[in-house]
């Protein structure tokens, strides 16, 4: 088995890693970097629980090899909050009651953040389409969609939740 040396930026931190060919980005994050916020729901690119931002775009990290991430910039759910303030998508989803079991939540938040980055004022149809690759079994989606619509209007730090304890 050949190992590859890679360097990459994860949540604003520069990292050097050594990974085997068949390790996915998801496995590297969870097993080698203690970033367990990103979840494994299917390992087949279908459920979206493993969604992270790679070079600004959402990907299923179970469908990306770790070795492909050399020189990449990765953001996971742990990197969403900035300077102790929750990202508006996090605040909004909590306030709207869009979190139940929470397993889909990190992936949903990453897809939503990416959506608002490329489309700052999406309508509900656009939000739903952007989230079609993030399965949720608990909420029925409506609260999440309303939350993202609300998040588009929010400035970071405007909700009571934003400061960490």
């Amino acid at each position: 088995m050949v190992f590859h040396k890679i360097n990459l930026t994860v949540n604003d931190e520069y990292e050097e890693m050594v990974v085997p060919s068949n390790m996915t980005l998801l496995q590297m994050l969870r097993e080698k970097m203690a970033l367990t916020g990103t979840k494994n729901g299917c390992s087949a690119g279908e459920c979206g629980a493993c969604t992270v931002l790679m070079n600004g775009e959402p990907v299923n990290s179970c469908m990306v090899l770790a070795v492909e991430c050399n020189a990449a910039t990765i953001i996971t759910v742990e990197g969403l909050a900035r300077d102790n303030q929750l990202d508006p998508v996090q605040e909004a989803v909590i306030e709207a009651g869009g979190v139940q079991c929470g397993f889909c939540t990190p992936g949903i938040l990453m897809s939503s953040r990416a959506l608002l980055n490329r489309n700052p004022d999406p309508d509900e149809k656009e939000i739903a389409e952007a989230l079609v690759g993030n399965l949720c079994r608990c909420t029925g989606y409506a609260r999440i969609i309303r939350a993202i619509k609300e998040a588009a209007r929010m400035k970071p730090g405007t909700s009571a939740l934003s400061a960490t304890d």
Partner: protein, 784 residues
């Protein structure tokens, strides 16, 4: 304890507080079982499973697997003779002489990596003698069917389940009430139908996972995604010949359960392997594919309905026969069939009933509890028959239900009386909200629009002595810690526990914490997180424990102030006297007590409140007639209505809007109650339109998310309204009863009734896929 009083509802009862665990989940800090770190002692397990639906095991050779470098343990059924099961002990941890479904565990391997364990499976040889499988429950009951459990009569079974030895019937529940045979002659109209409800799966986003470790003393620790830590402790201990206190179960956050993580399934495999791993922890995870065919699935059902009414539309008789495709092991499924049996009339008053509910062994994946516990499967056909019957006598379906549905005091199919319920109000609310009776034109000329309604009932299905307990304590800072044994799998039980403790004690919600994760070593006992029972049962225990703390606090303060507790209160975290207007914060009091009035010594000390709740008055039901005074603790009832369109070109169904109303007694947290109603509705829509675990010759044809479709964000109705009806439950906390399951029950038949309204066809069973709807319309001549 929980006597309902409308007089004063203390805050924060009835307030939509934000989830206690919402922030943790949204920042990725909430730990699920696969997130726990065990260091490099951790071993990874994989299971070698049966490739046949039914076969005898002739020979197992694990020698090559054992020799693979990195493999640390290999176990087979030879090492574990014990049986395991919740209501019927028909299952062994690993198969010993026979495999009964494709996926049945035969060998367990633990290795230093998941990949090595997986490679080891290919080095294991198993010789089978293939047997004829049973693939249909109606064929399964025939005398010619091969016996899947020849030793059925030897299995330990609870006293309310009735297996028929020498057959594949692991439970037969009967209702014999009135005189059905003569009642048909008095019926002006009769409907007789068969419905086939296929298997579906829960699809929790987090697949099953367990980590187990046995230490040098033989004590076991099991970490897992579990709805039932205490039940797992109990059942696994019994099976391994340990005592309950020798097993500790810890369950971190659960990424969705819906029933699949109740009881015991794959967790026992992890424990068994761990007993041979020389003290190292062993992690077993199911792949998503394994989740589909080796975790619990929802049983299939073949249901025969016959029902009749008189000329005025009053139901006179029902004769309903259910053949449940229970799968290879029905240790849990037997109770589903019982619950369907004692609910077999649906939420209606029917004087003459013959009901037979058979749980049948088949060589299919293992049927287990899924949201609704038999109610969605049963109502699927029953509520369609009700519609058919009403239309047959020329009566509006809502009017028919108004006339026949259960009301306070109605006689139940099991003979007792219905407690106070708001089912009629639920029905009225949804028909008003959906604008029943009016029809909007379709959105395009190639679509047809329809409306449908359905009502439901469900009781918590559990043993008559399923108990809850709770403790409450205070810290020096005045914050409250609540210990519970019930799990929060997303439905919000921790939040509710905190709200109820806050209300009963007199402190702000924000100052209450819940002692999670549930850990059987420290948490108080809870039977299981199932049956929509926590708000009611665990709630009663929490309230009791909080009130116990309140009593002790007021006692200490009264003694310290020379007053009587009746003049004191705790308001917003401060102990106050209405008489002297003295006050003191809860800080320190709960640990150090208060000084005596004369300054010589202290009173009080560390305060712990305890609470316990167990139903006391559920009577049995007669095994021959199914009659009994009190069959269940209570019922939650409700209704849903949908408006949809059928695309004549493709058969695709689009849900335009949905409405639900459920009588929850008291909504402790209204937004969370509505969230359950919404989530259940969408899961109901998904089960109606897309979901189908396709079985062929015992093999699941679509064990992946590619081909087992569930609703996505784009598939939800354009509009969904949820109404809360509150007719208090007399023994629930402030009148509350459960809601978690009920919103998935009437959705499918409401959709089916709406499809009939739109295009005049009914299908024998779901899913109402575009293909099935289109071909049915084609065969009926509605389209070409």
């Amino acid at each position: 304890m929980g006597r309902a009083s409308d007089a004063l509802i203390p805050r924060p009862i009835g307030e939509s507080k934000l989830r206690i665990d919402g922030r943790d989940k949204a920042i990725g800090a909430a730990l699920y079982t696969d997130d726990l770190q065990f260091g490099n002692a951790l071993l990874h397990a994989r299971i070698k499973r049966s490739p046949h639906p039914h076969a005898l095991i002739k020979r197992i050779d694990v020698s090559k697997a054992r020799a693979l470098p990195g493999v640390k343990a290999v176990v087979t059924g030879q090492d574990f003779p014990g049986y395991i099961g919740l209501y019927l002990q028909d299952r062994q941890i690993f198969c010993r002489d026979r495999v009964r479904y494709v996926g049945d565990p035969v060998v367990g391997v633990a290795a230093i990596s998941e990949n090595i364990a997986e490679q080891a499976l290919d080095l294991i040889d198993v010789d089978y003698e293939v047997l004829e499988p049973v693939l249909d429950p109606e064929l399964g009951v025939s005398a010619q069917a091969p016996l899947i459990h020849p030793d059925l009569e030897k299995y330990a079974v609870v006293n309310f389940i009735f297996p028929e030895p020498g057959t594949n019937i692991s439970n037969h529940f009967k209702i014999r009430k009135g005189d059905v045979d003569n009642a048909w002659d008095q019926c002006a109209s009769i409907v007789e139908r068969r419905y086939r409800i296929p298997h579906i799966q829960h699809v929790p986003l987090e697949p099953h996972i367990a980590v187990a470790k046995q230490d040098e003393l033989g004590e076991v620790t099991l970490w897992g995604s579990s709805q039932s830590p205490f039940a797992q402790r109990n059942l696994i201990a019994q099976s391994l010949g340990l005592s309950q206190s020798e097993i500790r179960v810890v369950s971190p956050y659960v990424g969705g359960g819906f029933g699949s993580k109740a009881g015991v399934s794959m967790e026992a495999l992890a424990v068994a392997i761990a007993t041979r791993a020389r003290g190292r922890p062993v992690k077993l995870r199911l792949t998503r594919e394994e989740e589909f065919y080796t975790a619990f699935v929802r049983q299939g059902l073949v249901a025969h309905f016959k029902m009749g009414c008189d000329a005025s539309g009053r139901l006179l008789a029902m004769e309903n026969k259910f053949y449940w495709d229970g799968g290879a092991y029905t240790e849990y499924g037997v109770n589903i069939t019982r619950a369907a049996g004692y609910s077999c009339t649906g939420p209606y008053e029917v004087p003459n009933v013959r009901g037979d509910s058979y749980c049948v062994y088949t060589n299919h994946p293992v049927g287990g509890p899924m949201r609704g516990f038999g109610m969605p499967e049963m109502h699927a056909g029953l509520e369609q028959c009700i519609d058919e019957l009403s239309l047959q006598i020329g009566m509006d379906p809502v009017e028919f239900r108004r006339l026949n549905c259960l009301k306070t005091g109605s006689t139940l199919v099991t003979g007792g009386r219905m407690h106070a319920i708001g089912l009629l109000q639920c029905l009225e609310k949804v028909s008003e909200a959906i604008e029943w009776g009016s029809k909007a034109p379709p959105s395009t000329p190639t679509k047809r629009r329809g409306k449908g309604v359905a009502i439901m009932w469900k009781a918590p299905a559990m043993p008559p002595n399923a108990g809850s307990s709770a403790w409450v304590e205070l810290a020096e800072d005045g914050q409250v810690n609540v210990g519970v044994g019930g799990q929060d799998m997303g439905q919000g039980s921790f939040t509710i526990a905190a709200q109820m403790a806050a209300a009963a004690l007199g402190v702000p919600y924000e100052s209450v914490r819940v002692a999670a994760p549930v850990d059987t070593r420290y948490s108080p006992y809870e039977w299981q997180t199932v049956a929509s029972r926590l708000t009611w049962s665990m709630g009663n225990a929490v309230v009791s424990a909080a009130r116990d703390v309140r009593r002790q606090v007021l006692q200490v303060a009264a003694e310290a102030w020379g007053e009587t507790p009746e003049d004191l209160d705790i308001v917003n975290g401060t102990v106050i006297s209405y008489k002297s207007e003295k006050e003191t914060p809860l800080k320190n009091l709960g640990i150090y007590g208060l000084p005596k009035p004369d300054g010589r010594g202290w009173r009080g000390g560390p305060i712990i409140g305890r609470g316990s709740f167990m139903p006391s008055d559920v009577t049995g039901l007669d095994p021959e007639t199914g009659q009994g005074e009190k069959a269940v603790v209570h019922y939650t009832t409700g209704a849903q209505a949908v408006e949809l369109e059928v695309d004549l070109d493709t058969g695709r169904i689009e849900i335009i809007r949905g409405v639900g109303a459920f009588d929850v007694g008291r909504a402790i947290n209204p937004e969370m109650v509505k969230a359950q109603m919404e989530g259940g509705f969408v899961q109901g829509v998904s089960s109606a339109l897309y979901e189908h675990l396709q079985l062929k010759n015992g093999f699941v044809q679509n064990p992946s998310l590619v081909d087992y479709r569930i609703a996505t964000a784009v598939d939800i109705p354009g509009e969904l309204q949820s109404f809360i009806v509150e007719v208090p439950q007399d023994d629930g906390p402030w009148g509350a009863r459960g809601i978690g399951e009920h919103s998935m029950v009437p959705t499918l038949p409401a959709i089916a009734n709406a499809i009939y309204d739109a295009v005049g066809i009914r299908l024998e069973g779901p899913p109402f896929s575009a293909e099935k709807v289109f071909l049915a319309m084609l065969d009926a001549g509605i389209v070409k």
